[in-house]
Amino acid sequence: MSQVGSFALLIALVLAVYSFLAGILALVREGPGSERLGETARRAGVAIFAAVLFAAVVLVMAAFRDDFSIAYIFHHSNRDLPGPYKFAVLWSGQEGSLLFWSLLLAAYGFVLRLRHKTDQRLFAYASVIIAGVQIFFLLLLNFAAHPFAVMQGERAVDGNGLNPLLQYPEMVIHPPMLYLGYVGMTIPFAFAFGALVMRYQGEQWIHITRRWTMVTWMFLTVGIFLGAHWAYAVLGWGGYWGWDPVENASLMPWLTGTAFLHSVMMQEKRGMMKVWNMWLVFATFWLALLGTFLTRSGIISSVHAFAQSSIGEWFGWFLAVTFATFALFFVKNKAHLKSEHRLESLVSRESSFLFNNLLLLLACFTVLWGTWFPKISELVEDKKITVGAPFYNKVAIPVALLLLLMTAVGPLLAWRKTSLDSLKRNFLWPSLGAVAVGILMMIFGVRPWNDISYFYALMAAMLGVLVILTVVSEFVRGGRVISRHTGQNLAASVVHLWHRNTRRYGGYIVHFGVAMVVIGILGTAFNQDKEKEMGFGDKLALGPYTLVCQSYTQDDNPNYGNEWAIIKVFKGDEQITTLYPERRFYKASQQPQTIPRIYPTFTGKNPLLITDLYVVYEGVNQDTGRPIIKAHLNPMVPWIWTGLLVIIFGTLSALVPNAAAVRVTVPARAQAVPAGAGD
């Protein structure tokens, strides 16, 4: 079985090399045979997908067949591992995840090569670049991190099992989502680089890649949030973001990708920021690889230490080569990237995009700087230090708040120039709403002068509400104009409005989701927790809740043994739920794992203030045999996950094609109502 898989990987490498070299030859050589050569390169590219898919299927089959003669299966699976996790073995270890990366890249390449008729020459360039990246991953798979390496000596009866941290339903989908985002960033990069190399005329390449970029951005967003939710639901420390280097590594390409999604509109609409966009798309691709380099090289210590290995050096070289190649072509062809228009006013959509990009890039730099500073400090002073949450909270939160302000302001500015009157008209009510929320929070006890975290929470709430209200007012204002001229009711008019410019209004929905996420995060300032050893009938009071330990016991199954408690939750005299926090001990890997139980509850009478009651079985007091239970009250956390759903909905709705424009005769005054015309 391992030989078949190895052979498939070797074939894939040969195909990738052929697709790359023949593709270049076909593009460079002028002659009658070049078109046919290019077609063979394209077909070889398509065939890479079949070869890599075959190798991946072989590896998954080996996991299901408990083929422990393959070292990867021995190290990452065991006989009693449940089926879905055996499937997830594919991306649970280094060799498998590289194979998975290669498979996704091949799948993206497959779709791209099938759609080559859209713009044959541009697609040929993009195909060659993708083949180049594919060669790197296939070289790794064939020579540095072979997933089909065989075990030496006698065949093992059982495997080491999957890392317990990964035995959680979300781990079956979190890595694929993240990888779809990381790998997907290769596609816009390939098109942009191709456009740069061939001195592409016009901005059509941006139209072609727009959906690719939005879809991969969405995957990356979902991957990051699923990772955060997994950390929240599995690690048991009550939080969802620890500023670990690997978490940071996923955030960096997301930030540059978000900047690209915004600034690319400047190029589409106004022919501006061409150089900037070229570097942004490169940076996004490069940072996605840097993330893998950080994870694998072990250069920076991380809780994701299970991913460390010797292939970091390979990634280091590949990063250097891609940078050098891109820089070379940029210097050669930069004259082609001159902006076509001038900036007419500082108060315009163009300048808001500039400042939004500045802040996103600054946030990215801050995260990059904080991630690398321990290493820099070690090199300069020979002293290791820690750069943890307090650093990021002080530096990154102010930047995030400014970004939120831009999220509120930017969409209300028109292209070219915005009048002061229109600004006043559009901002008056959202601003009053935001100030009212701030005053209410202070009245209810949030005193920003007592604690910096309260100050941040207050600002985040006010700005979040400002974003939400500006988005709502945009929909309502635009909807009213349509309603007035079509006679439809407001809801139908809002749908009509969205359908006329899905990207713009889908983007607003994404902004709405982002504001919800920020409001969810600000709840951290009000977290509470308590820990107690609890015997039968013992009580633990936390906020409005009383936890009563009804029982605790132990169980056993082939995969793990566990200790767990039955905790009844009361609010006043009324029992609202029963929770079962547990602690598992996985037999194959001999590692413990906490499984907290989370119950979202509504605080008081206000249904918007949702609080998670988060209960952790921390372990057993060896002297008394009684469990130690830790309970957290985490306000607003459900807003984060709901915000993600809104972001997904917004992105998907932005992907829907626009409806044909409906001709409506609109009086001059009504025409001016929706502030920011265009996207």
Binding site: Q201, L235, G236, W237, G238, G239, G242, D244, M272, S301, S302, V303, S339, E340, H341, R342, L343, E344, L346, S351, L354, F355, L358, L361, L362, F365, T366, W369, G370, F373, S377, V380, E381, K383, K384, I385, T386, V387, G388, A389, P390, F391, K394, V395, V399, I439, M442, I443, G445, R447, W449, N450, D451, T594, V616, E618, G619, V620, I628, K630
Partner: protein, 168 residues
């Protein structure tokens, strides 16, 4: 044009809004209160657990962790002694090494960690302002309907057509 009665009404509305804002601020100012237990939380969140879990001291959730319970006890004892925050942090650094502090200090080379993001902000702002100024000074594009100069492949196409027209 605003009438006198409209102006009077809007002045009255402004006065009421200002009055409401002043009342709200006064209410909030009267409610301020301190929280002595916050120091334990604040300091506990400025330190890492040294059991190599990479977690903040107060967030380390390993039962049986050889360090976190002891370190929390030491922090509580230092607070009971009345030590100030700097002294407490120095004590922990001496005992557990510089990695126990969760963020770089503001001394020596560590200052660079704090300065750089703000330096980047300043540089970025300066660059953005320069870009905005440069773009504003650029000559205005041709007005709608005006003839735009032809360049690149389009010019080549015209050249070819012109040659074809004049060649036999």
């Amino acid at each position: 044009m605003l009438t006198r009665s409209t102006m009077r009404r809007s002045r009255g509305l402004l006065k009421r809004r200002l009055g409401f804002a002043a009342l709200s601020i006064a209410l909030v100012a009267l409610m301020g209160a301190g929280d002595d237990g916050a120091r334990f939380r604040q300091l506990g969140h400025k330190m890492m657990c040294v059991c190599s879990c990479s977690q903040i001291l107060l967030e380390c959730n390993h039962v049986g962790c050889a360090y976190s319970d002891r370190m929390r006890g030491e922090l509580m004892a230092a607070l009971d002694r009345g030590d100030n925050d700097d002294l407490i942090l120095q004590g922990f650094v001496q005992k557990y090494g510089p990695t126990v502090v969760a963020a770089p200090t503001t001394t020596g080379f560590n200052r660079v960690a704090w300065i750089m993001p703000f330096l980047a902000l300043a540089l970025g702002l300066a660059t953005t302002i320069l870009i905005v100024r440069a773009w504003s000074k650029r000559p205005a594009p041709a007005a709608a309907g005006a003839v735009l100069p032809v360049t690149g492949p389009e010019l080549d196409r015209f050249r070819k057509k012109a040659q074809e027209d004049t060649e036999i």
